[in-house]
């Protein structure tokens, strides 16, 4: 049996760990709140831009743009959203596993795909496996501004426009609730399913100067907004996942402290009993 001092040492160290995880849990909870708010304030923008894109796509028969047309797929781009830091439970590993499986399934050589990663964990994961990471961004703020990711978003869209990639998928954790996050795969480019709800004909617009020019401006902006939306969603999931992970770590620490205190008390009792027995034995020997 471990000595009293050993057990006491373990109890104090577990208590300290618990303090840390508890603090991290609370920090993540407040960050989650903010991230949810950010995701909400993005909704009006994305809805509006989607509406306009859909009505142009539905209204104008002759409007065409490279970003609207599916072409033969020679190279696929995967944009993967992970966090910079760990300690978030299965948040990173579930996304990475999914992407890894998809790539293994669909591609035979590294020529056929490229990766764009947001977050250090994702970048390191793919680099370690010698997979091509074309672009990466790390150190994204917990509450990202659109300006923070504008560059990488527009560069990614540019890859498609330049024909470097022929389709773009985005992988991230969709925020369902504070305890559930779902790994989601979304096809961003080409924009083929623009009008899913059949809202066509709500309004027919006059285009200034013409449809093609509008699409020229609108579609890259739309694609970038999809990427930003996914990032916001991913950030909310990250904080939620971290909060849950830290909560269960705190619970585990509580349980461990309980067990350790019990064995500490037992050991103390045993030591006292032994001492009494020794004294009694000693006294008996003197008589």
């Amino acid at each position: 049996m471990a000595s009293l001092r050993d057990i006491k040492g373990r109890i104090t160290s577990t208590k300290k760990t618990k303090q840390i995880t508890k603090a991290m849990e609370m920090v993540s909870a407040s960050k989650l709140n903010k991230a949810e708010q950010n995701a909400r304030s993005f909704v009006p923008y994305s809805e509006k831009i989607q509406e306009v894109v859909a009505s142009i796509a539905a209204g104008g028969g002759d409007a065409s743009h490279p970003m609207l047309e599916a072409r033969d797929v020679k190279r696929t781009g995967y944009l993967v959203i992970t966090s910079d830091r760990g300690l978030a439970g299965a948040y990173n590993s579930s996304v990475l596993r999914k992407v890894y499986q998809q790539i293994r399934q669909h591609h035979n050589s590294a020529e056929e795909y490229t990766l764009i990663t947001m977050g250090r964990i994702g970048r390191d994961f793919f680099r370690k496996r010698n997979m091509p990471v074309d672009k990466d961004i790390t150190g994204i703020a917990d509450q990202p501004d659109f300006a923070d990711i504008k560059d990488i978003a527009s560069e990614t869209v540019q890859l498609f426009t330049d024909g470097e990639i022929d389709q773009l998928y985005i992988y991230y954790n969709h925020y369902v609730s504070a305890i559930t996050q779902e790994v989601t795969e979304k096809k961003v480019l080409p924009l083929t399913n623009l009008n899913p709800e059949g809202k066509a004909g709500t309004s027919s617009y006059e285009y200034e100067p013409d449809e093609e020019e509008i699409l020229e401006v609108l579609l890259p902006q739309y694609a970038e907004s999809l990427i930003y939306g996914a990032l916001l969603d991913g950030k909310a999931s990250e904080h939620a996942a971290r909060m849950t992970a830290m909560k269960s770590a705190t619970d585990n620490a509580d349980e461990l402290i309980g067990d350790l205190s019990l064995s500490y008390n037992r050991a103390r009792q045993a030591a006292i009993t032994q001492e009494i027995t020794e004294i009694v034995g000693g006294a008996a020997a003197l008589e």
Binding site: N38, S41, P44, V52, F146, S204, E208, E216
Partner: protein
Amino acid sequence: MKTLTVSVVTPDGPVLEDAYEMVSCKAESGELGILPGHIPMVAPLTISSIRLKQEGSSERIAVSGGFLEVRPDQVTILAQSAEKPSDIDIDRARRAKERAEQRMANKQSDIDFRRAELALKRAINRLDVKNNNF
């Protein structure tokens, strides 16, 4: 007086929503003035300022590109960034301006140059709106 509901929306959230009598802005194809009852229209915007008129007074908003959607009683401006004069960080804009000028001075590639040019335009636009000099 008839009015239009104007809303300015960016990815970071709505910037403004209110009723105005007139909206004037600079689209890719030239200056546009929009009054209530305008035919539905979509137009891309340049890096410029939007002027909103309301009972004799007028407001300015700096936008970095984006586009404008017009309906008879409503105007929506979707931009990647849009700021009221009070929200503009003048020091940051000045620094951005200097940085962009520097980058344009030691020109490396065409892409960098174009990007610096756009950054310079955005910075100058912000400073102009903040200082209200037109």
